[in-house]
Symmetry: C2
Subunit: 381 residues, 2 copies
Amino acid sequence: MTAPFPDSTRPEVAPPTGTSTVAIDLGDRRYDILIGPALFDAPATWSGLPRASSALIVTNEVVAPLYLERLKKQLTSHYARIDEVVLPDGEQHKSRESLDVVIDHLLARAADRKTVLFALGGGVIGDLTGFAAAIYMRGVPFVQVPTTLLAQVDSSVGGKTAINHPRGKNMVGAFYQPVRVVADLDTLDTLPDRELSAGLAEIIKYGPIADAAFLDWIEEHLDALLARDKSALAYAVKRSCEIKAWVVGQDEREAGLRAILNFGHTFGHAIETGLGYGAWLHGEGVGCGMVLASELSHRLGLVPVDFVERMTRLIERAGLPVKAPPMIIERWLDLMRVDKKNEGGEIRFVVIEGLGKAGMRGASDELVAEVIAAHTVPAAR
Amino acid sequence: MTAPFPDSTRPEVAPPTGTSTVAIDLGDRRYDILIGPALFDAPATWSGLPRASSALIVTNEVVAPLYLERLKKQLTSHYARIDEVVLPDGEQHKSRESLDVVIDHLLARAADRKTVLFALGGGVIGDLTGFAAAIYMRGVPFVQVPTTLLAQVDSSVGGKTAINHPRGKNMVGAFYQPVRVVADLDTLDTLPDRELSAGLAEIIKYGPIADAAFLDWIEEHLDALLARDKSALAYAVKRSCEIKAWVVGQDEREAGLRAILNFGHTFGHAIETGLGYGAWLHGEGVGCGMVLASELSHRLGLVPVDFVERMTRLIERAGLPVKAPPMIIERWLDLMRVDKKNEGGEIRFVVIEGLGKAGMRGASDELVAEVIAAHTVPAAR
């Protein structure tokens, strides 16, 4: 589908005006994504949230020193008590054990079912906190405060929450929407380069699956994005959220269309799980996974080889890996067979059927092996 | 509210015809409760369920020898693979650990997201299996096959799923609806007397909160119910499900009205948690809890003392405890303060405001202490 959803104005580089808002409209569960600089310290950012006697901020050891006190300061006028849980950093902590820490904390503090949870951090914190909010007392409100580019353009939007399992990523979770998303672009100033690149992977994704013109725009402005040009980032975040909002509005629970957002993710999840959570960042797995999924699309006769080369070049320029690690093929296939998109035996992939248009296809084990072999780092001898 | 919902015909004792159906209507998530004898072995009972390549039956060590093979036999024509998880029996196993057993089993068998879960057992199995279905791959379909009276009239209907936590009952869970409920009345033939009584507690509950005439009917037919007269049970189960279906249809997520279904439960949960899960059955806690909640309603000036005496007599006739165990008052208050109905400090209770009409009221610690003292077994000296 070639951008059948309304585009906002697409300036050369978006003007550094104030906050822009993208609405997620799910009927009775409508909420706003606030995107802009200087949102953290603006009282308006935090007004109108659900009232409660207490709030719990969940964050990690890297983000806490940077933003925890600033968030608490803004929330003190809204909640009589503000608790915090500070987890270790990293994908390996998006686990059952971390979930238990959050739930046990809520119970130990006798948090009631109006308590508001704040997820302050990247995708790991957002997914975990959202899932804790979904199941504590069968559901309490939560606010996403994404501080990484990846979380701002993807994981904080759309209500997918989950924890990982040693056997697979995001295997336990819920569809549960936040009451607000606050994406302060200033938090990207402190983001390590590697995480900036990881976020770019998910931004790049939106081009081939839904908006060919956005792919052109990304290619033109990649240097500005890498240089953290605030107005380039503002436009990239906003456009990514618009596309995701449109997809999620059509298919909240991934009965069909929503699966296209997983372009590159089946291969990427296998890398993440195979190497152990934390070895590669999620966005790195997605970057390399998009190269493989593009190759698969080509070998299925859907796109020309030029497309594979174009995607590979862009992903590499974004600072992301384009060669897969040397896992044996049986391990790849085992890992991809537990992916949620599969039903029964055949492994299914999101493929590109033309610029700006994605679909789902099954592929034989032999074809998958060829695709992986064509883009793998040679094993050490 | 005095039964503002449609009543079915109310025969002296319902004729032993075939299956009756009560529909739960939640818009796009409509499903049927099938109630009747001989449902287990009727192929029609299991037709039309979601298609999948595999099914998982979750049950316990008491129910498995009675019904597991019969259920599997019916399901073999629908699912290529049927797995089973047999848990120990008892409320103490409605735990995080049991949940992990079910989830780990699904992952070990690479169950996909169309896999259908069957909860074969009482309330513990139903609540736990429903919660596993709610969170496995963010939600798979499940079928409730309640084999206790309590589960047939209450816990299998309405989509509340949960596990317990050492700090409180049902503290972690989800609102997640089954795709069908199959209440075979023949399963009540094998139910221990103590569990029959526990189920009667939840049936009795529906009278004072919603339907004064049903309370009269229960008083008239209690001996038939205790003697397991099939047509008396059929009517009691059907009427209970109708009332619950109406309440849940109004307020699925317990924003208000639905809380009335917890009449007796705040006191009852405190007993269950205080003594350790499994010492008292849930229905026993609810029975005694209704005596205390009736006393509280009386002391708040809402109902005459006759009502307390009437409820106490009926609950005692049903074979349920009407005296609370000798817990110290501080323990009572601590346990009741973590109840989900509370918001902030004050403890809130479901009270009877008149026959067939329930509401929510806060009560001072002093008043609560007087209520409990009036209905407590003296401590051993």
